[in-house]
Homo-oligomer: 351 residues x 2
């Protein structure tokens, strides 16, 4: 490939893994949290829409576009709970950042790893506004691909020092326990959700099953808990008993999307929720009392990927990574697209 | 990059140009026409939706998803009429083909060149069903990036031997005249749309201006003409005087999308139109009389890109092209995404 002015920057999975390793995971998550907070605070600047989901018997494929006046971003992401049968991840993703003024794609990036980081960063941004400041103990219910990132985010950004683990798959818990041990983080496996949750300040539900589940029931909830509901994120896929939601103050990313995809899909359309950006922008109070129960009914919103793509672009710049792919033809005369094909003369013979 | 089972096939702009040159443009367009016809005939197999458009003062960026039970495709495409100021094409595009069962992206491909070919192929597929079989003379109104491809498609697939050219930009016409000359195709430049259209069997409007234009007025239309309206393809962007539409039988790709984006946006929502797939599937007659005026109000539908991506994947296979990009991380244990980042041990120090 010859270098050209309109080459699209490319960040592959291995490159992003190496970038994260060089920068450090915790600084990466902290950086992402800053970008997310900045973008959520200028919420009104964005052209937002609910994502476009294509459902099949095996899972869902989604496109998530969002833009401001300067940049357009979208993410492609799937959710296929049975993918382990093929040795594939449940969630795989990539995304694009483009220039609004011209439509030129500036960046194509892997987003499987990046989504894991941005989801953890988003959870931490919400919990920093909603959980009790003295929170030290956190339950991780669901010990799959997202769990280490949550632990790191909450350790480094919120000061969580003790993790309680539970998963229906004991091998997943063993993997998480080993990874956290090597990270120097204190963790303990429990035999049930109820036992893991007991005494925790923050509970994160990170399950992937595409079903109406009630991982958390009202009797498990303690005064002052903050619940970070991450796994309930599409129609028919929930984690929290409706009564848990009714007894809490519920915060969401983008209300029109969460009404359809979040745990609040189980409740009437007028059940009161607060969009988190209002708290981050200082318009609404987050936690109001030490014994209040708060829920962040997180489904993952396009703006978080917009922030993540901006962050990855800037990090690539900072680390001097300049790989690109020739996605768009560079034309001496844009009206002569035909001239880009090296066939003249003699083309008529090709027929 | 090390080879892996889940590498995503990549077809860049230069690669696709070289593939087209090797195969020959006319055989490429003919192949695309076959794939489009096959997919349109199994119309009911597809999960279809109108595209998701993000409008800005300078243009539009669109995502166009479509899927059947096996494959999911989407195209990213912009339309920015002022892009020549930056030396960029008005329309730039790329697309992705993915597996419905797992969500794994199989192919990322440039679609700027490919869209030009598929648009020409789609026009030819429509005209083969709608134009008079004895058509020999065609007007090309708008001599920009799409025009050579239209000429080649209509020469090779419909037997058009004489092209009449007009564009408000004389340089564009000169470029087209030169390219067609080198292709051995007979063409002549005219001083106005009216003169170019006179005596033609088929008229293609291929203009890019984002405005309500009336390139063709009723007095220019002759009995038996087929009009191929390609340039009017988004809200506020039309090419045909409404009276031209009223006096013709109008065919469209996907009615819900064309009502918003096509030339028929100027007419009431109950103005009768026929979806082209019905003609291709043999359910409805195309042209019914030699003096009937037919219009294909083409806006470009996601299914054409689905066909084009399938076709390009198969052509790459045929030509032995196996370039790929590492878009998705390959994980020994899909639940251990964290283990993909080469940071352990010592990660805690990074904070």
């Amino acid at each position: 490939m010859k270098p050209n002015l309109i080459a699209t920057r490319f960040l592959g999975a291995e490159t992003v893994a190496a970038m994260i390793a060089r920068k450090g995971i915790a600084p990466c998550i902290a950086g992402l949290a800053d970008y997310i907070r900045d973008d959520f605070r200028r919420w009104a600047s964005f052209d937002k829409s609910a994502r476009v989901a294509t459902h099949s018997p095996h899972g869902v494929i989604e496109l998530m576009p969002v833009s401001d006046r300067a940049l357009y971003a979208f993410k492609y992401v799937n959710g296929h709970p049975g993918n382990h049968r093929f040795g594939l991840s449940t969630v795989m993703a990539f995304g694009v950042l483009a220039e609004v003024e011209t439509g030129l794609p500036l960046l194509v990036s892997e987003l499987t790893l990046t989504t894991a980081l941005r989801t953890a960063a988003m959870s931490a941004v919400a919990a920093a506004a909603l959980a009790r400041p003295d929170s030290r103990r956190m339950a991780l219910i669901g010990n799959g691909a997202q769990s280490e990132f949550q632990a790191l985010a909450f350790h480094h950004l919120l000061g969580i020092t003790q993790f309680h683990l539970y998963d229906t798959d004991a091998a997943a818990t063993a993997k998480l326990l080993a990874n956290l041990g090597r990270l120097g983080l204190s963790a303990r496996a429990f035999g049930s959700t109820r036992e893991a949750v007991c005494g925790c300040d923050i509970v994160a539900t990170l399950t992937a099953d595409k079903s109406r589940a009630a991982i958390l029931t009202p009797d498990m909830i303690e005064p002052g808990m903050h619940i970070n509901g991450v796994g309930g994120d599409c129609p028919g896929k929930t984690e929290l008993h409706p009564e848990v939601l009714r007894r809490a103050r519920v915060f969401v990313e983008y209300e029109p999307q969460t009404r359809v995809e979040g745990d609040i899909q189980q409740l009437p359309a007028d059940f009161p929720v607060t969009e988190l950006w209002r708290v981050l922008a200082g318009a609404v109070a987050g936690r109001r009392a030490a014994d209040e129960v708060t829920v962040f009914d997180s489904v993952g919103f396009a703006l978080e990927d917009f922030s993540a793509l901006r962050n990855m672009r800037d990090l690539a710049e900072e680390l001097g990574i300049d790989a690109s792919i020739p996605l768009i033809p560079e034309l001496p005369d844009p009206k002569n697209l035909f001239g880009y094909i090296p066939v003249l003369p003699g083309l008529a013979r090709a027929a």
